[in-house]
Structure formats: structure tokens, C-alpha cells
């Protein structure tokens, strides 16, 4: 652990029981996720894996306190979650840095909202910028940074609030493959030094298996947790993990789980001339 956290924050234990979330209003309202029962111990790195549209962002939104549960309970360290709070920081796929503020001021946003004096919050911000390896970019504007750097700043401005839980919604989804791999290692490196529970949403199986202590695989609508897979790969993890036979076996398992299985026959193959002919196999 670095000196970045001034004091050990309380645990970061997440508990959801019988959770369901409804979206849309009136007659169009529907249950996006349901029957969520989940216990995440402090400091665990959990990956939420599922097909697009299955409700991963929705579930994360509930954890952040932006969406309310329709049924069930959701608690952090025994306290019910009611509304957003800096103890549960969130990073989105598209950065939300303020383009009119320097990188340093962006990182100092949270302390500023809490009324921390300027000199003090800028000093803190420098510390967290250094933590994500961007000490030299404090005076730049977000538009002058690459996509990967912008996400690192985003991580720094969340961590400066010393959250007990770090929520990430496909944070590297918009990055190129190379940067994405690099960012995964950066994130693991930061996480090992901070006492934070992480819930990381992704639809990339490799990413989930490489990062997590545990992968929760979700089904397509209505979103439910299909399987809870513990990952025992030792840390620190290297890139060669992806060729490990155990990794490959789990990857196959995840692929199976994510394959659409709603009773419909597989789609017919297209003929070279377009749509399949009626009656043709």
C-alpha cells in the first residue's frame, strides 16, 4: 500500500439480496436484472461478464446509487446504499473529465466538492496523478491526452476520494487492443497497492479472466447471474497467463455460458447470394 490513502478505509463489503431493477416508465417498464444474490468480500476484484444489453451497466448503476432497486436490498458494509457517494467511485467507458479544467484540477474535483483548501487538494491530486503514472501531465488539458491517459486520470480522480468500492463500466472498452492490455496491468498494479473492492464490468472474456479474483457470468435479458467462477491464478499475473491450460478451460466455459441458449435453433447460414433459400438446409 502506498501512502496515498491517509487512513485505512473501512472494509468495502458488498451484499445484495433478491435484487431486481426495473427500467422504463409506465407500461414500458420491465425488469432488466432480477434475482441478484451476491456477497463480495472486502478488497475482492470481481468481474461482471455478460452479453451486451444484459444489464451489467444497470447493476453497476445500482451499486453506484444512481438507480434504485425495485426489490431486494443492497448494502455496503452493512449500510444500505441510497444515492451516489464518493465511497463508491465509478469509471465509465467514455471519460467524463471536464474539458475546461487542467488534468490536475480534474483530479482535485472530489476534494474541491468537499471543501478541501486549494493547496491541500492540489497536493493530493499530484500524489494520485503520480500513482497512475501521469505526474508530468498535471498542467495539460484532457483533450491533449491519449485515450488511455484519459482513463488513467479518470481512475486517479476516483481514487483520490479513497473509495471503498471502485466500480468500472467497460473502462477500457473504447481503447485499442494494445493500450487495453497495458491498462489492465496498470489497473492491477494500482489495485494491489490500495485497499479497494473492485467491480469491473466487461464483455471481454480474456479481460475478465486476466483481472479478476472471481467472474460473475450474466445471462441475457432478464439479466441474472448464471455462474460464479472463482479464479485462483496467482498474482502478480503476467501475459503468458492467457495460454495457461486452466485459463483456456475457463475461457471455453465462459464462451459456452455466453452462447445464446434461448431454445431457438441456430441462425441459418447465408448463401453466397444473400438470404438462405426457403427449404434449403
Amino acid at each position: 500500500m502506498t501512502g496515498a490513502y491517509t487512513e485505512e478505509p473501512p472494509a468495502g463489503r458488498i451484499a445484495i439480496a433478491g435484487g431486481a431493477i426495473r427500467l422504463g416508465g409506465g407500461a414500458a417498464a420491465f425488469e432488466v436484472v432480477r434475482d441478484i444474490d451476491l456477497a463480495i468480500p472486502p478488497r475482492q476484484f470481481v468481474c461482471l461478464l455478460g452479453p451486451s444489453g444484459c444489464g451489467k451497466s444497470t447493476l453497476l448503476g445500482a451499486l453506484a446509487g444512481h438507480l434504485a432497486l425495485a426489490r431486494g436490498s443492497l448494502a455496503l458494509d452493512g449500510e444500505p446504499v441510497a444515492g451516489p457517494h464518493p465511497e463508491r467511485g465509478i469509471v465509465f467507458q467514455q471519460h467524463t473529465l471536464l474539458p475546461w479544467r487542467r488534468v490536475l484540477d480534474n483530479v482535485a474535483f472530489g476534494p474541491k466538492m468537499r471543501g478541501v483548501p486549494r493547496a491541500e487538494r492540489l497536493a493530493q491530486a499530484r500524489e494520485f496523478l503520480a500513482l497512475v503514472g501521469l505526474a508530468d501531465f498535471a498542467d495539460r488539458y484532457p483533450s491533449e491526452l491519449s485515450g488511455g491517459m484519459q482513463q488513467r486520470v479518470e481512475i486517479a480522480r476516483v481514487l483520490i476520494n479513497q473509495p471503498r468500492v471502485l466500480l468500472m463500466d467497460e473502462p477500457f472498452g473504447a481503447l485499442d487492443a494494445q493500450t487495453r492490455l497495458m491498462m489492465q496491468e496498470v489497473l492491477l498494479d494500482i489495485w494491489t497497492r490500495l485497499p479497494t473492492t473492485v467491480v469491473f464490468v466487461t464483455h471481454d472474456i480474456d479481460e475478465a479472466l486476466f483481472l479478476g479474483d472471481r467472474v460473475l457470468v450474466m445471462s441475457a435479458r432478464p439479466g441474472r447471474i448464471l455462474e460464479d467462477i472463482p479464479l485462483a491464478f496467482p498474482r502478480p499475473r503476467g501475459r503468458d497467463l492467457v495460454t495457461d491450460p486452466d485459463f483456456v478451460a475457463l475461457k471455453r466455459r465462459c464462451l459456452d455460458l455466453l452462447r445464446p441458449r434461448d431454445g431457438r435453433p441456430p441462425l441459418p447460414r447465408l448463401t453466397p447470394l444473400g438470404l438462405p433459400l426457403a427449404g434449403a438446409a
Binding site: H66, P86, G89, I90, F92, T96, W100, G110, M113, Y141
Partner: protein, 262 residues
């Protein structure tokens, strides 16, 4: 700046200066050729002479500066008031559904009415003094500023708002530090449009009686067929419009320094 960008910039300014000079030359040519009677289109030099006469001797017993200042005062008060109130209300409408609901029908009822159509009503209500003139300009500026601020208030993404709230910003802080700055580009554009409209309404508003102001000057001169004075007045209004537009644009670029770099 690269050599290429410098060349592009130079080209921009050459064109920006050449275009009005060409128009002026065309104007001079048409009048010199006698293609239009001076009553309809006086020569640029005749207009300049009238302008000089007014600078020296005023118009209808009043200093030219007094005319200009009277107009600037009306536009200035109405513009500042309308811009401020319209922007505040527009931002609130963009973010608070109840406030939007309150103002939706009244403002959309008033917005399509041409301000000039309101002149008789304003005379009835507020008389023919300063109040009528200022309120008429105020109303147009207010409506334009409100529409633009409202659209601007919706420019920031839901994620950006949620991120701010998750970093500890209260609703008011999120409004102040995220919504407002995101809306600034559109607010500044709205203010430019509003300033143009304000000057248009000014000339018409000065129809409402009174004995000073550039609108009065233009209308008075035209009723006596003093076309060169009409043109001189129009030129002055145009110059004020150009100067105020450039000032707002420059201010906008200062305030909204991040625009176009995202």
C-alpha cells in the same frame, strides 16, 4: 503556428477585408455611373459628408454622440437584463422538469409573435417612454437567450453528471461545475444571435416616439427624404452591430477556450 496555418490565417483576413471593400467599390461605381438617383442610392462620399455634418453639428439639435449613447443605453440595459434572466431560466428549464413545465406554454406562445407586432400593445401598457423601448428589446433577447441556454443545459452527458455526483458533488454543485460550463458554448452563440436581434428591434422600438437615438434619426431623416442621413444612420447601426458581434465572439473564445479541441 505552422507556416501553413499562418498562410491560411492571412488568406482569411485578406478575404475578410476585401469583401466589404468590394461592396463599397460596387456602391461607388453604381452611383458614379448614375445608375440610381441620389434620392434612392446616394454616393458613399455624400453619405460620408452627412456623417461628417452630424459629427460636427449633431442631428435635429442633438449631438450625434447623444443619439448614439441613447441607443447604446437602451440596447445595453435590455441586452444585459434579457441575457442574464433568459440564461438563468433556460438553464433551470433544461434541468428541472417542473420549471420547464411552468414556462413551456407561455414562452412558446410568445416566441412566435414578431416583437414589432407587440409595439401597439407595449405603447398601451408602458407608454411611449424608455420603458416600452427597453422592454421590447429585453423580451426578444430574453427569449433567444432562454432557448439557447436550455439546449445548452442538456449538452452534458448523463455519465458526466453521474460521475460528478459519485465524486461527492451535490445537485447544486453538479449544476454549477458541470452543467453550466457545458452549456457555455451554446449560451455564447445565443448571445451573438440575441445581440443582432436586439439592434434590429432597437431601430423599430425607437419608432415609439422620442427625439433621440439612431432609430429615431433614421426614421426622422427618411420622412424628410434626407437619404444621405438615413444611410449614415444605417452605417452607424451596422458598425455598432459589427463591433458588438466581434466583441461577444472574442469574449466567447476566451471563456469557451476548450471548444473544438475535444
Amino acid at each position: 503556428m505552422s507556416a501553413n496555418a499562418a498562410a491560411a490565417r492571412r488568406r482569411y483576413w485578406i478575404l475578410a477585408v476585401l469583401s466589404p471593400l468590394t461592396l463599397l467599390a460596387l456602391w461607388a461605381l453604381v452611383t458614379a455611373q448614375g445608375l440610381a438617383t441620389p434620392m434612392i442610392l446616394p454616393s458613399p462620399l455624400a453619405v460620408l459628408a452627412s456623417l461628417g455634418d452630424m459629427v460636427g453639428h449633431g442631428y435635429s439639435g442633438v449631438d450625434l454622440a447623444t443619439h448614439v449613447l441613447a441607443s447604446l443605453r437602451r440596447v445595453g440595459i435590455a441586452f444585459c437584463g434579457g441575457a442574464l434572466l433568459g440564461t438563468v431560466l433556460g438553464l433551470l428549464r433544461g434541468r428541472v422538469a417542473e420549471i420547464d413545465a411552468l414556462f413551456l406554454v407561455p414562452s412558446e406562445l410568445v416566441r412566435p409573435i414578431p416583437p414589432l407586432g407587440l409595439i401597439p400593445l407595449f405603447i398601451l401598457w408602458f407608454g411611449i417612454g424608455e420603458a416600452s423601448k427597453i422592454l421590447l428589446i429585453f423580451l426578444s433577447v430574453f427569449l433567444i437567450a432562454m432557448v439557447n441556454a436550455q439546449a445548452g443545459a442538456r449538452a452534458c452527458s448523463l455519465d458526466a453528471l453521474r460521475a460528478a455526483r459519485s465524486m461527492g458533488a451535490s445537485r447544486v454543485q453538479a449544476f454549477r461545475f458541470v452543467v453550466l460550463p457545458s452549456a457555455l458554448p451554446q449560451i455564447m452563440t445565443g448571445l451573438r444571435v440575441a445581440m443582432g436581434t436586439a439592434l434590429t428591434i432597437l431601430v423599430a422600438a425607437e419608432l415609439l416616439g422620442g427625439d433621440r437615438g439612431l432609430g429615431f434619426l433614421i426614421l426622422d431623416a427618411s420622412s424628410f427624404f434626407r437619404t444621405t442621413y438615413v444611410f449614415a444612420g444605417i452605417v452607424l447601426v451596422g458598425l455598432i452591430g459589427l463591433a458588438s458581434d466581434r466583441a461577444i465572439a472574442l469574449l466567447g473564445r476566451r471563456i469557451v477556450h476548450w471548444e473544438g479541441k475535444r
